[in-house]
């Protein structure tokens, strides 16, 4: 299994952000991680990326435990956060070169050219982050993740700030990477995107996993059968917002 999460939990002081979360993502699979605000999605993704330390449970990437063998695990992982964090003094190409050096990518020149073309960053190679729009900076962060052959890709709201063409391309990129054998975990509030590209969906609420399966599997679940057949209806039902929606 490319990504294995076992009984993962994370607390902030006395507040429990995520509790007893377990799931797997196989190679070639795209799994959507959805939930209302404060459900614990970003905490989960940041812990899977090695940024936050789990307070309980374990995470392994391609069989390498993130706690006991962090370097091996991180080498196989690419995390694309929703907030583009870049070094204000490095250009687009220099960010990619830095990643190339840190991850030991020999043919970085060829790869960076490819990813710059793929994400339509051509012409912006020598720009500093301060000269780029929010969407462009988001593309640079994604480029840093895609410039190497990571086996596990974590996307947190990958479409934020992108224009319609960028959204279309990004969708194709995510699907293309999964077809190439990567395990993809995608967190987004855009339920139609999740429904369209993900082969499986995990729904979180209040720090816990409350549903896990394909959209069809969820729709056929006894307790969700009345909800409807699309992901938005299922989401509303499973998170207890169905009544609120109909009241509106």
């Amino acid at each position: 299994m490319a990504l294995a999460v076992n009984h993962f939990g994370r607390k902030y002081g006395t507040f429990t952000a995520v509790e007893d979360l377990s799931f797997n993502v196989a190679s070639g699979e795209i799994v959507g991680l959805i939930g209302p605000n404060g459900a614990g999605k970003t905490t989960t993704l940041r812990a899977l990326a090695g940024i936050l330390k789990p307070t309980s449970g374990s995470v392994s990437i391609d069989g390498h435990d993130l706690q006991s063998a962090p370097l091996e695990a991180k080498r196989r992982l690419a995390f694309m956060p929703d907030e583009p964090t870049l070094f204000e003094y490095l250009t687009v190409v220099e960010h990619l070169r830095l990643i190339g050096r840190l991850y030991g990518i020999g043919d970085i020149d060829r790869r960076l050219r490819r990813v710059v073309d793929e994400l339509e960053l051509t012409g912006k190679e020598d720009a500093l982050p301060g000269e780029l729009s929010r969407g462009m900076r988001q593309k640079v962060v994604i480029a840093c993740g895609l410039v190497r052959d990571a086996t596990t890709l974590l996307f947190d709201e990958p479409l934020t700030g992108l224009d319609p063409i960028g959204i279309r391309r990004m969708r194709a990129t995510i699907i293309g990477r999964a077809r190439g054998g990567a395990a993809v975990l995608l967190s987004s509030h855009l339920l139609h995107l999740v429904e369209e590209v993900c082969s499986r969906v995990i729904i979180m609420d209040g720090g816990r996993k409350i549903a896990d399966g394909t959209v069809d599997e969820l729709a056929s679940r006894a307790d969700l059968a009345r909800a409807g057949s699309n992901l938005e209806q299922i989401f509303m039902r499973v998170t207890g917002h169905e009544g609120a929606e109909s009241a509106e």
Partner: protein, 574 residues
Amino acid sequence: MLSATLYISACSMRNRTRRWFRRLREPRYALGLVAALAYLYVTVFARLRVARSAGRRRGTVPGVLSALPGIVPLVAAASLLVAAAGSWLVPASGRLLDFSAAEVQFLFPAPVHRRQLIVHRLLRSQVGLLFAATIPALAFSLPVGSGILAVRTAVGVWILLLVARVYFSAMALARANLTSSDLRFRRLARLPLAVVLVAILTVANAVVREYWRQPFLRVDDATTRLTAILSTGPARVVLWPFMALVQPFFATDWAEWGLAISRGVLVFMTTTAWLMASDALFQSGAAEVVERRDAEPRQGKVSYVVRRSAWTLSPTGRPEVAFFWKTTMQIFRVVDRRIIARFSVVVVALTALVVASGSARGVAGAAGLFAGASALYTALLAPQILRLDLRQDLQHLDLLKTWPVRAAAIVRGEIGGPATALSVVAWALIGLALLFSTAAFPGQSVAWRVAIASASVFLAPALIFGQYTIHNTVALLFPAWIPLGSGRPRGLDAMGQRLLTLGGTWLALALMLLPGAAISAVMWFVLYPLVGPLVLVVAGAISAAAIGIEILVMTEALGPAYERLDLLSIERPD
């Protein structure tokens, strides 16, 4: 609008106070507050008590600068005039129109006049101005007088700062409209420029005519004649507003001070009236204000420009080099004038101190002392200022943590860049000091001077790398004590916290130096009789090697601390 301003001020003050008290529940801030209060007591209040008793004995309260000769206020007033005129060439914004993002979002679309917005900004800036006025007032008044004098000086400085802020803001508005296509705006903008030009030409004309009549031969002759021409005729008239602003510092009694302050208030009201009259200019330039605000880097944020470099990072090699390269790029691209200004001010002050207390002979001597003082400053204090290491990069911790790099390599890489840069600067300064050492230190023999310089070549980088290691160790072990980036948490407690951190760093550095110093002391006793001053070079090299080993051990030991480090423990600037 006034009620809205008062509401915003009251709410922000209340929330800030609440947050401050909440912050004080944390031991680091409570400790910081105790340290800051102790520091303030020693540096201000204890001196205030001594000064008060001295003032009581004297029975009078003279002005802070009242003992200076009569030419000084005239020169000060003329300098203000030059600054006022010069600001048209090298513009200063006055910061009165630097609206915050929230102010732009909430107040600009509100149905209020632009002049009300200016009054709003003026009122909102008062707390900062009062604080800015108090510090120099205490610094200059306490050594020569009482607490009352400090209050008098603070009021004078406050009015001076108020006028400066309003003037520069009005000037910025006028300057932007000098070439406006609207004739009314153009006239409104050019009138003050004409007034300032006439004023400066009047003063210059008076001085030049006097000089042509008879050149100034001696200092006392020049002083007497300049005093006469600047305090009479047209020069006196044009200098009057500027004299009104400097007179409070030269007043010898309460009556004179009160008169001077009332004149200053009059100047402030006139300048404010000019700013209000520029309301039309502000109306036209409001959009520009917003655009400029968006384009300029936020206060406390550093801006960068791309500069080509010949160094392209190779795809393979040690990760430390990647960090070193990253920092090098940052240093070459940084446009933070504040760092350069702070660095220059401290170096110049140190040099002045050295020159004043030493026996510098001529330009070469002064240059030697300057280089020596700068090298000392670079080795001992610059690592505190040049924070291009983990103290800044902890802001990017969420990025660093995703990289497959050993913690020790990250720490060494983060330290390597700024420490190497400062070491190169220190070596250059040591070289200069050695070059001019004959004039600067004539009492020392060539052998001693060369030995000291050579030992410094080893010691300076060791001290710099050592300090960076300590700073970065503190950043990893006690991240909450380290404010990130260029921003700083404000308040007495934060100031005390910084004092404690600085004291702790120097204590740690002293401990770090101990092994090398002990070995060097032994070498001194053994080798000095045999090799003379050369022993300093050997001792310097051994001390540097000892510190180097300590750095390696410390960085290797920091791995678990880095792994444990959590984003929540990091201090975000206010």
